[in-house]
Assembly symmetry: C2
Homo-oligomer: 151 residues x 2
DNA sequence: CCAAATTAAGATAAAATACTCTTATAACTT
DNA sequence: AAGTTATAAGAGTATTTTATCTTAATTTGG
């Protein structure tokens, strides 16, 4: 898989949050229901995002999680790095340890260029950009439902 | 992981073959020794490549496997498709089934472009190109050793 | 024909990943 | 005080991936 399931769920949840009114705390239970993800599993993933400061949480009634910064300032790259790490940007196509300019494998150069394309895409895409588009065109965010089924 | 272990081993083995004299059958045992891959595991991977016609095999003494066509005509894409399938070229970044132009997710378009970069790289790169480069510069093909340790 | 070398194929085991469930605690609201 | 919600840690299950082991089946060389 290009992205782990955890990462995919993290992205979907982040898009969900950015589609909501800014500043509002959203209960994880609500997200897991709407996005059709196991509550406990999602909780663990969101804890990772909270730990690195992408989300902030609030306990008790009316609590939940929300984006720390505005969704316009949060790139997909941040989510992916927080959950899957940078393997996508560093991993050798032949699986050789320490592959790089100093000790390259024969594919290294071309592979590095390709990875750069991935990196640029992830860095230049923001949550708001996608959730806005998702709402306008009512695109899918779950297997069945679109953004406009979320409210 | 971007590529599975099986796929990585398949690529390394294919590069090994393309670095050898054309037409010669190479015993799998020799390859597993040189490339430091479990013999039985490598055998299964090479069987997949044989099944789709990228390799051909010969049993009995002096048997082994070899590239069916010249290494110049074999792209990395073929190896990846045979072992990992086309998930890299089709998989949705949000994990939604059937994501495509008809039923896109909000990332679909950008993601598709990125995947196209990967596809072009894999399609345009040949085994011979890499093994030639590997031999000339004595680049690595195992964790420890380079192409010139293979003979 | 016989023995050795080799691929082919299937069964099994080990490890990693994905996911669920349980329990307990802390913080907050009413 | 009672109820709601996140946090945390850990046990447990399921699935997938990776790897090994065992047993055929095929071919060559003598």
């Amino acid at each position: 898989m290009l992205l782990s399931k955890s990462c995919i769920y993290g992205l979907r949840a982040s898009l969900y949050l950015s589609s909501k009114e800014e500043g509002q705390y959203i209960p994880i239970r609500q997200m897991s229901d709407k996005l059709d993800i196991s509550f406990h599993f999602l909780t663990k993933i969101l804890q990772q995002l909270t730990a690195v400061g992408i989300l902030e949480s609030y306990k008790g009634p009316n609590g939940g999680v929300r984006l720390t910064r505005s969704g316009e300032e949060v790139s997909l790259m941040e989510i992916v790095l927080a959950i899957d790490g940078d393997y996508m940007l560093t991993e050798c196509a032949l699986g050789l340890p320490g592959c790089g300019v100093m000790k390259p494998c024969p594919i290294h150069e071309k592979w590095a260029e390709t990875r750069d394309g991935i990196r640029q895409m992830l860095e230049s895409t923001t949550l708001t950009e996608l959730s806005k588009k998702g709402k306008e065109l009512d695109l899918r965010i779950t297997a069945e439902g679109g953004f406009n089924d979320l409210d």
